[in-house]
Assembly symmetry: C2
Homo-oligomer: 200 residues x 2
Amino acid sequence: MQPQAITRNAGTTIARQHEVTSALQILRSGAAKAVLQAACGAEHISAFYFPGDIINLGTLEGGRQQASVVLLSAASLCRIPQPLLQAHMQHNPALATALLQAAMQELRQANWLGVLLSQGSAQERLLFFIHTLAQRDLKTGGSGAYVHLAMSRRDVANHLGLAAATVSRTLAHLEEQGLLHCSGRTITLLKEISPRHNFS
Amino acid sequence: MQPQAITRNAGTTIARQHEVTSALQILRSGAAKAVLQAACGAEHISAFYFPGDIINLGTLEGGRQQASVVLLSAASLCRIPQPLLQAHMQHNPALATALLQAAMQELRQANWLGVLLSQGSAQERLLFFIHTLAQRDLKTGGSGAYVHLAMSRRDVANHLGLAAATVSRTLAHLEEQGLLHCSGRTITLLKEISPRHNFS
DNA sequence: CGCAACCTTGAGACAGTTCAAAGCTAGTGG
DNA sequence: CCACTAGCTTTGAACTGTCTCAAGGTTGCG
């Protein structure tokens, strides 16, 4: 019973909504999106995952996966079987705490997305999103000066509750303002971004 | 070191954003709202709490309170000091699991709110909200036939990402359609509500 | 090279917002 | 017990940010 290293291609579904699994998956490289499917057919991308993120926290202890997770690029995963996880938890109670903290972190992000979706303009939503990606880049050793979007405009739009056309237009507008430069899926930040909706 | 019963009046703040506390609080009666304050001054009501709900899960294990919690009516709380909680957890490992499950439940609700905020019309948002309250009423022994709103229209509007005027208008419209009857803060359900955005 | 998916841009439509005024309700103090 | 007040709710009218629809441009892959 060992942790397993796994590699998969872009487009692969690595977790399915409602699923009950017996292993925790952690993204080691690449990017993924969490897609929440409503009964009526509507879909919402509730989160994006990057290296270090836990994919299926929800399936712990017999819970069900809240959303399907689809890879946005080729990626590698680390799979930790449930029994192994439990063995570790017995030796190391801090692990349970760490998982609870991870869950609270996810909740925090979902709540801030709620603030954005309920009160932000298209521009605020986009700036916040880019800012978040840049922060993430900083934390994982990047310069924070440019951001590579792993996802399509349509995915960004869906996540932020906008139309794809609006994302396109708003990016163009931000570029006119000299805030950033945008070429394909690479965004170069030209000024400090201080989204109106700051974390706190 | 015992659990404490506490009673407070409407309007009392029973948890503050960013706070680090050393006790878990559970709502025993009454209702409350969780208010997330952004640095810019914007506020979003991320959730409403009802009897049985845990108010400050986020403060467990040195975590910080994610949002302020304000009572919507006179209420009673049960306060469980951290040491007591930990003592129980040692005897009963299932308790840690239960807390993680509670956190995942909160996350689930936040995610569904996201779907609603990003893709639902005003009518869908309201129907979903009322439906949720009715379901809650059913679970706690009510008939599910009528719903008492513990919160103001403005609070409902804020939570659903609408203007208060829109909530008022939409309720009037739903009443015209014969779906429900609305008198003050009491809503009587006249037909089965099947929101387009079903849980799943 | 050709296809399929993605992205951009324009024009028009519309749901919901804002602002404002008037009606209602519940709590307070005389 | 009633008058008063502050906040909540409703409703109207005008406005606007974003959506939808559609057409053309671009990219990348087989």
